[in-house]
Amino acid sequence: MTAPSACALIQPKEYKSGVKPVWCPGCGDFGVLGSITKALSGLQIRPENAAIISGIGCSSRMPTYLSTYGFHGVHGRALALATGLKVARPDLTVIATGGDGDGFSIGGNHFMHTCRRNPDMTYIVMDNQVYGMTKGQASPTTEPNWEKGKLTPGGTGINPFQPLVIALASGANFIARCSSADSNGTARVIMEAIRHPGFSLVQILSPCVTFRPEQREWKNMLIPAPVVATSDPAQAARRLLTDEGLFTGILYVGNRPAYQPTLEASIDDVAKLDEEFQL
């Protein structure tokens, strides 16, 4: 692929690889793909300096559709891959992408601990409350009485996972919720998330038109968060626990320093390590 020229502004479309997505027509993830390209263009991050890292699932196909560096790894481990990359290469803009199953079920432990560790990266979760790639099972964010899940015909009967509350409690430094239907608004939030130091979580409600067609209505139900982003975790917690998952916007902006071990050598020659073993 060709590198964009150094002087001209890089347009959003230049961040697309040209590979045709596997997504269903009408899938919310198309909108998110557009938002990511707009955000990268908005920040003028050169494609070779960004890496999009994902696991498995419909939305985890994202790296392939972008012209940046990318890694499409195994199910649930995107944040671990992304952490290794960011620690080793702090100069890169690292963005992890994925869905609610990948991030909050099989990848739940990494989600919690990456919030805690707070590396300077952005995690975009396209939440559609269902496993789409395996054709319609309940996910951790599915409501308990959804009866169409093929493994849970009577509904899951268990409370949905609350990713933003968990993220806050675990130490994420930036928490936002967006809608895939609002492509420009989402792009602006992603730009903020990338700019903000530390671990930024952007939950994007992204309808699955095939297995959750009722989610087409989301765009009429979402409410922009009525107040500005808070840096007070207690206030953020109260808001997140009472909003029924439908407030959008930047909901929490913390000020913890990002995790980044230094990579500067203190000795000039590896052979000096020998000394401790010499008698």
């Binding site: 890496a51 790894g73 195994v74 050598a265 000795i267 008698l279």
Partner: protein, 574 residues
């Protein structure tokens, strides 16, 4: 008369300071110009529980436990019972213990050896802050012929952080123990040569593996603690920052393996160390490294399995999972060090190979190598360095997974303009786009296989020694006892070949055929209950019709005489 070798076991209950005493004794041996090593045997307790330091010293470099022990010092008599199987004795072996005025003599196990009493507790009480293990140290020094004064500098060095009172008390105890042992028989060790040399090193196999990793170019390590691999990670945690590297403590092994894949994708050679349970968790993602062609090294310091098994003791039973544990057709490298010192070379070579061939390398060390501290000759410098094929310029279209002739395709590093691609665990086209086409699958499978089978590995694939129509084939830590057995046979004029495999995957059929040329009888020696190594050899190589197996599970190590007996029995039958 002095002996070429001495084997000494120290046993004690938890907190009795057995390992400290053993380490001091090993230091003293090194000061005396001896070679030697100290293995550790312990139960699962965090503190408390019985422990044994198993020491052998020699005038020559050694890497095998001897047939039996010359001297046991049981700091408390009850501690020895657990180790009867691990401390074989002769009728002329000595056991020094503390009967506490006859009250505790019955707690020693039945043994053919000579029992000697040393009132260590009572003597320790005569010194303010005195401890029985320091009495024991003084007594052993006397019995094996080390000068009393030589212990002082070791105490001074090792007790630096504990203050002058601790040094004073320990030194008084050592002197008391030394004096009390005047009446005990002596077992004089090898001749003493003064003036230690920088050419002599002291390290554990786990430290050696860490050093090999850093020498090879590893600069990123992700770590999740697990016995008996933790010391590799602890050493790297302290050493990597010095060379501009970094170690991240991960939340679990799934994170460790994926973090190193991420770091390596970013251009930093990366490694993790674990043991069997961790390796089992990592296998899915090792397959990812293979499929996406991202170099990584996974060091498995093996312990007894399956499941949690015996976490503190050694076994060679992860061979099958290392060779065959990945799903799909996932050709990768499996290597094994053959001694404590060889942990340096093998780990360094593994880094070099993984980086050169853009694949995953699994290195199989084990507890008996990893946690043994050895006094050895300085390991040879070898030139194996991480050297990844990175494109210098890009055509209009960059095909990350171009099939090419060797199968190794240039791998761009994030930041290189024009080199953007998506590394993928999905089967892919040459450009890295996901593909479910049969042609792409076959082409990429062949690429990934060819790059590691067609590579020229050179002489390091195995250690080949000796001649004759009989051979012993082994791998990993069992190489030590086999080598010593064959050396003893050689001294009696009997020649048996040694084949100690360092590269277990990919298979090397031509090299093996040459190594086995003229061999009529082949003895396979391995520490696994289900004969994993033998089964692997049967599947991979043409073996002589007359092939036998000498196997047993861990944790008991093989002893040289057992291998000699196996060979003798066989030749008597034929």
């Amino acid at each position: 008369m002095s002996r070429r070798n001495l084997s000494i076991a120290l046993t004690g209950s938890g907190g009795s300071g057995v390992m400290t005493t053993g380490n001091m004794l090993l230091e003293a041996a090194a000061e005396a110009g001896w070679y030697g090593f100290m293995g550790r045997s312990a139960g699962p307790q965090i503190r408390g529980g019985e422990a044994a330091a198993l020491i052998r010293v020699s005038s020559q470099p050694i890497e095998s436990p001897d047939d039996n022990f010359d001297l046991v010092l049981a700091i408390d008599p009850g501690s020895m019972g657990r180790f009867v199987a691990e401390i074989p004795l002769r009728t002329d072996s000595l056991i020094i213990s503390d009967s506490e005025g006859g009250r505790r003599s019955s707690s020693l196990p039945d043994t053919p050896a000579q029992l000697l009493d040393l009132p260590m507790k009572k003597l320790a009480k005569t010194v303010k802050g005195g401890r029985p293990n320091m009495i024991a140290l003084g007594a052993i020094a006397k019995v094996i012929g080390l000068a009393e004064a030589s212990i002082y500098s070791i105490l001074e060095n090792m007790l630096k952080s504990k203050g002058p009172d601790a040094l004073k008390a320990s030194w008084a105890c050592v002197q008391a123990g030394f004096a009390a042992a005047q009446d005990l028989p002596t077992l004089k060790g090898p001749p003493i040569t003064t003036g230690s040399s920088r050419e002599r090193w002291s390290f554990t196999g786990n430290e050696a593996a860490g050093l090999g990793a850093v020498r090879g170019g590893i600069r990123f390590v992700a770590a999740y603690p697990i016995t008996p691999a933790t010391e590799v990670l602890e050493w790297l945690a302290g050493s990597l920052p010095k060379v501009g590297g970094v170690l991240v403590q991960a939340e679990d092994e799934l994170a460790s393996i994926n973090q190193i894949i991420g770091a390596s994708f970013g251009g930093k050679p990366a490694l993790t160390a674990t043991s069997g349970p961790g390796l089992a968790l990592m296998t899915e993602s090792i397959g990812l490294a293979v499929c996406s062609e991202v170099p990584v090294v996974v060091l498995d310091v093996m312990r007894c399995g399956p499941s949690t098994g015996i976490a503190t003791k050694s076994e060679q039973s992860d061979l099958s999972i290392a060779l065959n544990g990945l799903h799909g057709d996932a050709p990768h490298l499996v290597l094994a060090p053959t001694s404590v010192t060889d942990c340096v070379l093998t780990t360094q070579w593994a880094v070099h190979l993984a980086e050169t061939l853009q694949t995953a390398a699994i290195v199989l060390s084990d507890q008996s190598l990893g946690q043994t501290r050895a006094i050895v000759n300085r390991p040879a410098d070898i030139a194996f360095m991480a050297k990844r094929l990175v494109p210098e310029q890009f055509d209009e279209v960059y095909n990350r997974y171009a099939v090419g002739v060797t199968g190794v395709s240039p791998m761009s590093v994030p930041g290189q303009a024009g080199g953007q691609y998506t590394a993928d665990g999905l089967e892919h086209t040459v450009a890295g786009a996901p593909s479910s086409l049969p042609g792409d699958h076959l082409a990429q499978l062949e690429k990934r296989e060819r790059k590691i089978t067609a590579f020229e590995y050179g002489q390091h694939w195995a250690e080949l020694e000796g001649r004759g129509s009989t051979a012993v084939i082994t791998w990993g830590s069992t190489t030590g006892p086999v080598r010593e057995a064959l050396m003893r046979l050689r001294e009696t004029g009997e020649h048996v070949r040694l084949i100690a495999m360092r590269l277990l995957a990919p298979e090397r059929p031509e090299e093996m055929a040459a190594a086995l040329d003229g061999v009529e009888q082949l003895l396979v020696v391995e520490q696994s209950h289900s004969k994993q190594f033998y089964r692997y050899l049967r599947a991979a190589y043409d073996l002589p019709a007359d092939t036998r197996v000498f196997n047993r599970p861990g944790p008991l190590p093989f002893r040289p005489y057992e291998i000699i007996e196996q060979l003798a029995e066989w030749s008597a039958q034929s």
